[in-house]
């Protein structure tokens, strides 16, 4: 119950509740990252509201010393919309997962993004249903074996970042639970953006989908399978920065090239990341190993199109109601 102090510490944002995720769950790191981020935002603690749906990730608000609302499956964006409409001064965050946000709640996620209501939406993507014991999710890779897909998943997975762009999101970013520093950077950027920000966070489910992101998190493989996007900088990645991205004009697709050296292309020919370029964002959001590296960081940010909500809500005025009742066609009977 600590009120905002001059320089709050991450621990100030921990509630008195014991965290109940599985040992080794990626959610622990994300929770820490959020607490550290909140400590640096300068937002009065009492103005923070975390709204979640149902699932492992959606337990997170219980562990934060902020206002929190653990709602129903898939509906957190709708509840959060009401919170923001009812009290625009609040700093609203949504915690959701791949099943919560993209299966049962896909409709709400789409609409909160296109409406651009000012909030941060953190989608923990572990590509599995955890809390219901391991069923295939809408983001599960084809072939994923689960109690409901014993012979392997056959459906094409939805890509959260692409979905968000398609829904008209003005801020889309991606982070990984194993890289807390980059996560914090992305969360700060998401918070700074006025409007709906979607942050997809790859999160390892140690019990039901362990190593789902090994390609991009394992030492030795991560460097070649991921690229950290920086606005205005050439898109280089790889163990020694020896790879880069170029746009193949013929196919309108991204391609990996070797950079420098005898056979490589010069850095000047690489694509430069422009987070305001929606077309590029679509290509970046779709990249997947082994052909292309996974894009991490801010994929898209449209600073021009910001939510312009007022910050004060006044009570309904009885005088205004009285005017309504007496407006229009009114007649008088008898003497006043």
């Amino acid at each position: 119950m600590t009120a905002a102090t001059a320089s709050p510490k991450p621990a100030d944002f921990a509630s008195d509740q014991q965290v109940r995720w599985c040992p080794g769950c990626g959610d622990y790191a994300i929770l820490k990252g959020i607490q550290k981020t909140l400590a640096g935002l300068g937002v009065p603690q009492e103005n923070l509201v975390f709204v979640s749906g149902i699932g492992c990730s959606s337990r997170l608000p219980y562990y934060l010393e902020t206002y929190g609302f653990h709602t129903i499956h898939g509906r957190a964006p709708a509840v959060a919309t009401g919170v923001k409409l009812g009290n625009p001064a609040l700093d609203v965050w949504v915690i959701t997962g791949d099943g919560d946000g993209l299966s049962i709640g896909g409709n709400h996620l789409m609409h909160v993004l296109r409406r651009n209501i000012d909030m941060q939406i953190l989608l923990f993507n572990n590509e599995i249903y955890g809390l219901t014991k391991g069923q295939v999710s809408p983001t599960s890779k084809p072939g994923t074996r689960s109690p409901t897909s014993p012979r392997g998943a056959v459906d094409k997975p939805v890509m959260p970042a692409r979905f968000a762009l398609g829904a008209g999101a003005r801020f889309v970013a991606r982070a990984v639970d194993t890289d807390p520093k980059a996560l914090r950077c992305v969360l700060e950027r998401a918070h700074a953006h006025r409007g709906a920000s979607l942050v997809e966070i790859y999160q390892n489910c140690i019990v039901y989908n362990d190593q789902a992101f090994a390609d991009i998190t394992q030492r030795g493989r991560a460097a070649n399978n991921t690229i950290r996007l920086r606005h205005g900088e050439p898109m280089r990645f790889g163990t020694n920065g020896d790879r880069g991205l170029v746009l193949d004009p013929a196919s309108c697709a991204l391609r990996v090239v070797e950079v420098g050296g005898e056979n490589g292309v010069p850095e000047s020919e690489l694509l430069v990341h422009d987070e305001r370029n929606a077309a590029l964002a679509g290509l970046l959001a779709s990249m997947q190993p082994p052909e292309l590296p996974v894009a991490l960081g801010v994929i898209y940010c449209d600073p021009e199109d910001q939510s312009g909500m007022d910050t004060v809500r006044s009570p309904v005025q009885l005088a205004a109601v009285d005017r309504l009742l007496n407006g229009g066609h009114v007649w008088r009977v008898g003497e006043e």
Partner: protein
């Protein structure tokens, strides 16, 4: 301005013609014929003439059904009178039929020897065939028992508007105003208000403005000159006795929105109204969206669930969350209502009931969502259920819903219906000061704060507005510890919390009025127990039965959960109970289960309101059984 002498609309002038106590008129035509508009204009003119009135608009679910078909017929019925008018009337005294289909559909309802005003211009072979007539009813003697005014309204309209440069189609479209003009003549209505309305509506179109005015006046002049004799006599319905004050016509939809706003004002809260389009509830969102009131925010949500959830989110943030829908939409909101019950947040949900199940009868009225309101959620999830009795009562009950929601931190379901939201009646504009203020006092004291600590008097938990320092807390749909509000799976705690939620709703009975008897004594042979929009019909049926010497009382419920604290005792005072409902028997079972009373149901699920005669007959049969 009108070319008519206003003096002829004075009470004195009209007193010279035939006077009757009440008249039922029904306008019927194609869904594109403008019958709803005609009816609402007639309603306004009638209200301005000082009559009491009740209306029943009825229209197909299709927007423009194929022209000339029976399923495309749209109608508007109004009863107006000198005495209190409680229903739109059982049987029309006058039917205005704009085409054969309208005649075919509505003729069976017309009172014996009633008047038929028939637009012969629409009685073409094609239209007759579409309506299923092998021979024209105008020629085969089938209308001999009625007073028939057969007039080619279409042709007369086209002639009246010649010279304004309208296309033939546009010219024909003015025929509803011609018919309206004739009815204005017949009942001595001043057409001025409608002429003004035409001026406003067609402010940008001089040709349509002039043509519609001309059509209205031509219909009026036709009545004046055609010497229709006994078929369509000029009739005077004396004004009703009305208390002095300011009046307006009001529909249930208007009254609901104004009542909700008044409630938010009394609670000193901003209001967030989140809804999803659905018949017949959309009118509420239309009305509220048009307002420019800083305290009101409206959201057309992506679906019914989101609408309920956004309203709940708004309440969590310290505003008043409201959502409105009809049965199928309320079904979708069910899980969210459970969340509001569990999280103990105020919420007002308006259900404008319609025929069910499933998509059912979107434009027809029914009272069949009472079970849904009382029981339609998973788990033991009690909430308050209220039902307005009339269009005007929608205002008071919407305000009451807000009061109970914020006082008891609970969702309140308001059961209106399609008939109520569309029906219009004259309304004495109330003084807002007649209701007590109930400003919400959010908790701000951080000392010894538990989110689910209950108020000793009401059993409700404190409402804390996020943004209040030192009171940060988490709530949700998981079971909460009775004291701390933290997640708890403890068996005894769940029992205790379930009991606490039940007890809280039970305690609402302390804050609502005792049940009164609308008509008759508090003991006797028979009480007719009704709820919701059947009030007017039941009330009239009971009054008429009593005038015939029958010992019957009328008990009308506006509070359905909890029931008024004296209801059980009151019902025990009657030997028999008759419970008429526009459903297959819901309240009757709830009364039996709650009070163990000998209640007998009277069910009607035709999509239409009860007729007084039907109820009167049921009362007679019950007493004679």
């Amino acid at each position: 301005m009108t070319g008519l002498n206003n003096a002829e609309y004075s009470t004195e002038a009209m007193a010279a013609v035939e006077a009757v106590e009440a008249v039922v008129v029904r306008f019927a035509g194609d869904s594109g014929d403008g019958m709803q508009l005609t009816g609402s204009q007639f309603t306004r003119a009638t209200a301005l003439a000082g009559n009491d009135l009740a209306t029943l608009p009825s229209f197909p679910a299709e927007i423009r059904a194929p022209a000339g078909t029976t399923f495309g017929v749209s109608s508007f019925q109004i009863q107006f009178g000198a005495d209190a008018v409680a229903t739109p009337g059982d049987a029309p005294d006058v039917l205005v039929a704009m085409n054969p289909a309208a005649l075919r559909v509505h003729l069976p309802d017309v009172a014996p020897a009633g008047t038929l005003i028939i637009n012969t211009g629409a009685f073409t072979e094609r239209n007759l065939a579409r309506a299923g007539y092998e021979r024209s009813p105008l020629e085969d003697g089938s209308l001999d028992d009625y007073q028939v005014v057969a007039v080619d309204i279409t042709q007369r309209t086209v002639e009246a508007v010649k010279g304004f440069g309208l296309s033939h189609a546009d010219a024909r479209r003015c025929k509803n105003l011609w018919a309206l003009g004739l009815m204005y003549w017949s009942y001595g209505r001043d057409p001025d208000a409608t002429l003004e309305w035409i001026n406003e509506k067609f402010a940008e179109r001089e040709d349509l403005r002039s043509a519609n005015r001309a059509a209205l006046l031509a219909g009026h002049a036709y009545g004046e000159t055609a010497e229709l004799g006994p078929a369509l006599p000029r009739t005077h319905v004396p004004p009703a006795e009305q208390a002095p004050g300011r009046y307006r016509t009001v529909t249930g939809a208007d009254a609901l929105t104004w009542g909700l706003l008044a409630g938010a004002g009394k609670a000193e809260l901003p209001m967030v109204f989140a809804s999803y389009p659905i018949t017949p509830a959309s009118g509420l969102m239309h009305t509220l969206s048009a307002l420019n009131e800083p305290g009101l925010t409206t959201l057309q949500a992506e679906d019914e669930i989101a609408a309920a959830c956004a309203a709940i989110g708004a309440s969590f943030s310290g505003s008043l969350g409201v959502t409105a829908s009809s049965g199928p939409g309320v079904a979708l909101k069910g899980e969210a209502l459970g969340l509001a019950v569990s999280a103990e947040l105020p919420l007002v949900v308006v259900n404008c009931q319609r025929g069910g199940p499933s998509t059912g009868l979107p434009t027809k009225t029914e009272q069949s969502d009472l079970y849904q309101a009382l029981y339609g959620r998973n788990g033991d999830a009690p909430l308050c259920v209220l039902a307005p009795a009339t269009a005007a009562d929608c205002f008071a009950m919407a305000l009451e819903a807000v009061r109970l929601a914020v006082r008891y931190m609970t969702p309140v379901l308001l059961l209106a219906d399609g008939y109520l939201v569309n029906a219009a009646e004259p309304w004495q504009i109330p003084e807002l000061s007649d209701w007590e203020d109930f400003p919400v006092r959010f908790r701000t004291d951080p000392g010894d704060f538990h989110p689910f600590l209950r108020d000793a008097a009401t059993g409700s938990r404190p409402w804390v507005k996020p943004g209040t320092a030192g009171l940060e807390h988490r709530i949700g749909g998981l079971e909460k510890d009775f004291d701390s509000g933290h997640i708890s799976y403890d068996p005894d705690n769940h029992q205790r919390m379930t009991d606490a939620r039940t007890d809280k709703i039970r305690r609402v009975a302390d804050a609502i009025p005792e049940q009164d008897v609308a008509v008759g004594g508090s003991k006797g042979d028979l009480a007719v127990v009704s709820w919701g929009s059947t009030y007017g019909a039941v009330n009239q049926a009971v009054r008429r039965s009593r005038m015939k010497g029958r010992d019957v009382a009328h008990v009308h419920l506006r509070y359905l959960n909890p029931f008024p604290r004296n209801l059980g005792r009151l019902l025990e005072g009657y030997d028999r109970l008759l419970v008429p409902e526009i459903n297959n028997g819901q309240l009757v079972n709830v009364l039996r289960a709650t009070f163990g009373v000998n209640a007998q149901g009277l069910s009607q699920v035709t999509g239409e309101p009860f007729r007084i005669a039907h109820l009167e007959n049921a009362i007679k049969e019950t007493l004679e059984a």
